[in-house]
C-alpha cells in the first residue's frame, strides 16, 4: 500500500466512457484517479462530495435551531473536505476487491455496508469484497474518526465513486482488448460480457487494467433505482467468523512476547501510587515476569491473565488521592443544579409546565473490556487496539514516548462493542506506558471491574424544562441542560476548530455548547424555543454513550410534551400531530401508530408511550408498552433486577436511504435495549470518588429477562436519497417512549433515571484489591 499512498500529482485525464444509463436526469459525475499500481487501483478524494447536497438554511421556514440546518454530521463531513487524503479500492488478480476503510468496526455493521457499496458499483459478489480496517493515517486528519453516526453519510459517495471508476476501467480495458465500444459491454458478478459471446473475469483483467500513471477520471454513479445490492437486507460479512469463534479481537491476537498484563488500580478515580511495598515478592509469584509502577496504578505482566489477577490482588500499595475524591451522587447533583442557567420566560400569568429530570452516571463499557497490545522499543512503537480516533492515539502516544509520529504504528483492531468508549485511547496509551516501563511487549487488559470503576462514564446531568401555553398553543419551550462536563478530548475539537468559521452558529460558544447546538433541536412548533447547555468541570473520566446528549434531552422533552398534552386534554399522539413541524417525523409516527395499534385497550398498570426524534438526517418513532403491575415488577430473577417490563416495542425508522435494512434493524433493536437499560435499570452509583458497580450483576444492562419479548422494527422506504446515521439514532426516541409509557401506566411522571437508581440492588465488591478474584465453583452449576 505504501506505494499507493503517493499523492496523485499532475494527473492526466482519460477519455470518459458512458457508465450507467441516464434516467432522465442530468446526473453529476464524480472524480477519482486511476493510480499506478500492479493491479487496478482507484483513489478518490474523501470529503467534499460527501456533504449532503442540501444548502444550509433556506429551505426551512421560521427560526430553525442550528441543528435543523447544519448538524454535527454535516460538520464532520465538511471538516473532512479540506484535509482529506485519498482512499483506495483495489481489484486484485484473484478477482476480489479490497478496501482498507479508515473507520472502526465495533459491531455497527460499517464494514458490511461499505462492502455492499463496493459490490454495488463494481458489480461484484459481496463475498469477493474484503473490507479491512486501516491503520492510523495521520494525513487523513479528522477523516479517520468513527463517531456521530457519520460513517455511512461520509463514505456513501467516495467509496461508490472509487468502485464505479474501477468498473469503468475494467470495461474500457476489455473493450480495447476486444476492439468493441465500451457501451456494448455489460458487467455482472465479476464478469464482463459482450453480445458477441466474449466474456472475461475481473481476475483476468485486474493486471491489464492497472494504470501505469496517475490519471484523473470521472464517472457517473448508479441511481438508487438501479441498486440491486444497496437497500437489500444483507447479512454481516463477518458473521461466519463470529459464529465459529474465528473473529479476532485485539485480545485474541498473537503478537510475539506480548504477555498478559493487568493493573492494580487505586480505590478512587484517577488515584496515584505513593509506594509499593512488595514488588519483589509479587514479581516472584508463579508466572509473573514484571511489575512496574505507572501513572494510575501498578502493572503486572505474566504468563496468563489468571496469574496477573493473582498478582494484582497480592500487591500492597499506598495510594495518593484521585481527582474526584469525596464526590458522590448527591454532591455531584448539588453542583450540577447550582450551575443551571436561568430560564427566561417568567411563569407568571400563563399556564405552564415546569419539570426537572435527573440522569445518573452511566457506563458505556462494551462487553469486550478495554484492551490493547503495545510493543514499545527505543526508536519505535507498535499498537493494536480498537480505536475510533486512531490518529489522536498515535499523536498522544508518540508525544508521551518522545517519538516522532511516524515511528508509532497504530493498528485498528475489530472492537467488541464501543458505545462511545473507543473514542478514547486510554487503554492504548496505558499499554504503551507499561511496555515502555517494562521494556517488553504487553497485552494489556482491564478487568471488568476496572472498566466500570475507572473507565469512561456518561456524566450525570439534569434537564430542566419550562413550557408555557395559552389558548391551545404552546407559547414558549425552554430547556436548560446541565451536565458534568463531557470530554471531547478525543479530537473532535480539532475538527470543530477547523470549521468553526463556517458554522451558522452565532456567538462565542464553547466546544460542548457548539456540539449541543449542532445536535439538539425541538421538532415541535412551540413558539419561542431555547435549548441551552451548561457544564460543571469536575474531573471524572467522561465521554459519550451511544450519543452525547440526545437520550437525556429528548426523554425530558417528550415527557413534557405528554404533560402539555394532558394539560390540554389531548391524546399524546393527537397533540404531536398538531404541533409537529417535521414531515418525516410525522410519517414515522403515523406508521408507528398504525403498526403499534396506538390506543388499544390495555389492563390497568399497562400503558403505551410514544417517543419521536430526528437526528443524523434520520427520523424515528418508538412506540412501547410497559407493564408496571406488581406481579411483573416483582417477578423474581436471581442476582438481577426486574422492575417494570417493556412487553412490546416498535421502532419505525426513516434512514433517508437505507443501505442495509437488516443492519439498520439491528441498530434499532440495540438502541431499544440500550433505552430499556437507561430508562429502567442501568446506572453507576458514585460514592466517595468511585462507582460502586463492579460486574454485570451490578451494572444492570438489559438482560434476556428485561428485553421486550415482542420487539419489531419497521424500516421506511427511502425518502431523501442520502443515508442517515443509524448507530445512535434509535436510543433517544426509545428512551423517551419508555419514560412516557411509564408515566402513563403509573400516573406519575418519572423525574429520576434510571427509574430504579434509588435502590442499590447488589452488594458492592470491595474497592481493594481493585479486581475481584474469579470464583472456583464454576462446575457446580454446569447445565
Amino acid at each position: 500500500m505504501a506505494e499507493q499512498r503517493r499523492s496523485p500529482h499532475t494527473p492526466d485525464t482519460e477519455p470518459e466512457e458512458p457508465a450507467a444509463p441516464p434516467d432522465g436526469l442530468a446526473r453529476r459525475r464524480f472524480l477519482g484517479y486511476l493510480v499506478a499500481a500492479p493491479t487496478l487501483a482507484v483513489a478518490v478524494q474523501w470529503g467534499a462530495e460527501a456533504l449532503d447536497p442540501q444548502p444550509a438554511a433556506a429551505s426551512i421556514p421560521s427560526l430553525p435551531l442550528p441543528e435543523d440546518i447544519f448538524d454535527l454530521g454535516d460538520m464532520q463531513t465538511l471538516a473532512a473536505a479540506p484535509t482529506s487524503g485519498l482512499i483506495w479500492v483495489q481489484v486484485n488478480s484473484d478477482g476480489t476487491a479490497s478496501f482498507a476503510v479508515p473507520r472502526a468496526e465495533v459491531g455497527q455493521g460499517m464494514t458490511t455496508a461499505v462492502a455492499m457499496m463496493i459490490a454495488e458499483e463494481l458489480d461484484l459478489p459481496l463475498d469477493k469484497v474484503a473490507v479491512t480496517l486501516a491503520d492510523a493515517r495521520p494525513e487523513l486528519m479528522m477523516n479517520q474518526f468513527t463517531g456521530g453516526s457519520n460513517s455511512m453519510r461520509s463514505l456513501f459517495v467516495p467509496v461508490r465513486t472509487a468502485a464505479a471508476i474501477a468498473r469503468q476501467r475494467l470495461v474500457s480495458t476489455a473493450a480495447a482488448r476486444w476492439n468493441v465500444p465500451a457501451s456494448e459491454l455489460s458487467t455482472k458478478a465479476g464478469v464482463l460480457r459482450h453480445g458477441s459471446g466474449r466474456s472475461a473475469t475481473y481476475a483476468s483483467l485486474a493486471t491489464a487494467a492497472a494504470s501505469t500513471r496517475t490519471v484523473q477520471v470521472s464517472v457517473q454513479l448508479k441511481s438508487p433505482s438501479q441498486f440491486t445490492v444497496l437497500g437489500t437486507p444483507t447479512n454481516r460479512v463477518d458473521a461466519h467468523d463470529i459464529v465459529t469463534g474465528r473473529k479476532t479481537f485485539a485480545m485474541d491476537m498473537q503478537v510475539p512476547n506480548a504477555l498478559p498484563t493487568m493493573v492494580r488500580r487505586p480505590p478512587t478515580i484517577n488515584g496515584t501510587v505513593r509506594s509499593v511495598h512488595n514488588a519483589d515478592a509479587v514479581r516472584a509469584m508463579p508466572g509473573i515476569t514484571d511489575v512496574a509502577v505507572i501513572t494510575h496504578g501498578v502493572a503486572v505482566r505474566g504468563r496468563t491473565f489468571g496469574q496477573c489477577i493473582d498478582a494484582v490482588r497480592a500487591l500492597e500499595v499506598t495510594w495518593g488521592p484521585g481527582t474526584v475524591d469525596g464526590e458522590s451522587d448527591d454532591t455531584v447533583l448539588a453542583k450540577v443544579k447550582a450551575a443551571q442557567l436561568p430560564l427566561a420566560v417568567p411563569p407568571l400569568l400563563t399556564e405552564h409546565v415546569d419539570a426537572e429530570f435527573t440522569f445518573a452516571f452511566a457506563s458505556n463499557s462494551p462487553l469486550e473490556p478495554d484492551n490493547a497490545i503495545a510493543d514499545v522499543r527505543p526508536d519505535r512503537a507498535e499498537i493494536w487496539s480498537s480505536l475510533k480516533v486512531p490518529i489522536t492515539a498515535q499523536q498522544d502516544i508518540a508525544a508521551m514516548l518522545g517519538l516522532p509520529v511516524s515511528a508509532v504504528k497504530v493498528h485498528v483492531a475489530q472492537g467488541g462493542g464501543s458505545f462511545g468508549r473507543h473514542l478514547f485511547h486510554d487503554v492504548a496509551a496505558e499499554a504503551a506506558e507499561i511496555s515502555h516501563e517494562m521494556g517488553k511487549p504487553v497485552k494489556l487488559m482491564w478487568s471488568r471491574t476496572d472498566d466500570f470503576r475507572q473507565g469512561r462514564t456518561h456524566p450525570m446531568c439534569v434537564s430542566r424544562i419550562r413550557a408555557t401555553y395559552a389558548l391551545g398553543n404552546v407559547v414558549s419551550f425552554e430547556q436548560r441542560h446541565t451536565s458534568v462536563q463531557t470530554s471531547f478530548s478525543h479530537g473532535l475539537g480539532e475538527m470543530i476548530t477547523a470549521t468553526a468559521a463556517r458554522l451558522p452558529v452565532a456567538g462565542n460558544l464553547g466546544l460542548a455548547e457548539t456540539v449541543f447546538a449542532l445536535t439538539q433541536s425541538s421538532p415541535y412548533d412551540f413558539g419561542a424555543t431555547t435549548q441551552l447547555l451548561n457544564e460543571v468541570p469536575l474531573r471524572f473520566n467522561t465521554g459519550s454513550m451511544r450519543n452525547i446528549y440526545s437520550p437525556n434531552v429528548v426523554c425530558a422533552q417528550e415527557l413534557v410534551v405528554d404533560q402539555l398534552a394532558a394539560r390540554m386534554g389531548t391524546d399524546p399522539v393527537e397533540f404531536r400531530r398538531r404541533f409537529l413541524k417535521d414531515d418525516r417525523l410525522r410519517a414515522v409516527m403515523e406508521k408507528a401508530v398504525a403498526v403499534g395499534q396506538w390506543g388499544r385497550t390495555l389492563p390497568k398498570g399497562v400503558a403505551q408511550g410514544i417517543g419521536l426524534h430526528a437526528e443524523y438526517r434520520g427520523a424515528v418513532a418508538s412506540l412501547v408498552e410497559i407493564d408496571c403491575r406488581p406481579e411483573t415488577v416483582n417477578r423474581p430473577v436471581q442476582d438481577g433486577v426486574t422492575g417494570p417490563r417493556v412487553t412490546r416495542a416498535l421502532v419505525v425508522v426513516d434512514a433517508g436511504l437505507p443501505i442495509n435494512p437488516r443492519g439498520l434493524e439491528a441498530q434499532m433493536m440495540g438502541g431499544m435495549n440500550d433505552a430499556v437499560a437507561m430508562a429502567l435499570t442501568s446506572s453507576l452509583h458514585m460514592k466517595n470518588g468511585i462507582p460502586l458497580e463492579g460486574s454485570w450483576d451490578n451494572y444492570f444492562y438489559t438482560r434476556q429477562w428485561n428485553t421486550p419479548p415482542d420487539l419489531r422494527v419497521v424500516v421506511m422506504p427511502a425518502t431523501t436519497g442520502q443515508p442517515s446515521g443509524a448507530g445512535e439514532l434509535g436510543v433517544a426516541p426509545s428512551f423517551a417512549a419508555i419514560a412516557c409509557a411509564y408515566a402513563r401506566a403509573t400516573g406519575t411522571m418519572p423525574t429520576t433515571f434510571p427509574i430504579n437508581h434509588a435502590t442499590l440492588g447488589f452488594e458492592p465488591y470491595p474497592l481493594e484489591p481493585s479486581t475481584p478474584q474469579s470464583p472456583v465453583d464454576g462446575l457446580t452449576n454446569a447445565s
Binding site: L367, G671, T702, W705
Partner: protein
C-alpha cells in the same frame, strides 16, 4: 509445575501450569483457543461459556486442576465437530437470523443455546419464553430478539 490433561475439542491435550489457574486462561493464553471470551471473570456475563461433557459452564470460574483427564471440553471451535458437520445447526441458525453485531458474546451465546435446548429436551419439552428469560449471557449490543429467534429455529434442526 503440575501437568493437566483433558480432552479439548476431541483431542487429548496436556498443559503444564499451576493448579489454580482458571481454565479460561489455560484455553486462551496457553493453548491459543480464543473463541471463549473474557467479559467479567466472575461467572456473570457468560461470554466464555463452553461445554464440559455436553453441559454449559464458565471456564473463567473453574481451576484447571478440577478438570479430569476424561473430561471432554468443547469450545465454540469444536461445536460443529460434535455433530460431524461444518456448522452446528445452532451456528447455521445464527447465520440465518444474522444475529451477531460485534460478535464478542456470540460464541458464548451459541454454546449456552445448544446446552439449553438439550437440557429442555432431556426433560421432554421445548424451550419457552420463560426459558429465554433465564439466559444470563450479556449481549451489550442488544441482539436479544434475534438470539431468541435463532434458538427457536436452531432447535428445530437439532
Amino acid at each position: 509445575m503440575p501437568s493437566h490433561t483433558f480432552i479439548l475439542n476431541g483431542e487429548k491435550v496436556t498443559v503444564e501450569v499451576e493448579d489454580d489457574v482458571r481454565l479460561l486462561w489455560v484455553l486462551r493464553d496457553l493453548l491459543g483457543v480464543t473463541g471463549p471470551k473474557y467479559g467479567c471473570g466472575l461467572n456473570v456475563c457468560k461470554a466464555c461459556t463452553s461445554h464440559i461433557n455436553g453441559k454449559a459452564f464458565s471456564p473463567c470460574s473453574v481451576p484447571v486442576s478440577k478438570i479430569k483427564p476424561t473430561d471432554e471440553i468443547t469450545t465454540i471451535e469444536g461445536l460443529a465437530a460434535t455433530v460431524g458437520k461444518d456448522l452446528h445447526p445452532m451456528q447455521r441458525a445464527w447465520l440465518d437470523q444474522d444475529v451477531a453485531q460485534c460478535g464478542y458474546c456470540q460464541p458464548g451465546q451459541i454454546m449456552t443455546a445448544v446446552a439449553k435446548v438439550k437440557q429442555a429436551r432431556a426433560k421432554g419439552r421445548e424451550l419457552t419464553d420463560a426459558d429465554f428469560d433465564e439466559i444470563r449471557n450479556i449481549c451489550r449490543c442488544g441482539t436479544y430478539t434475534r438470539i431468541r429467534a435463532a434458538i427457536k429455529s436452531g432447535a428445530k434442526n437439532m
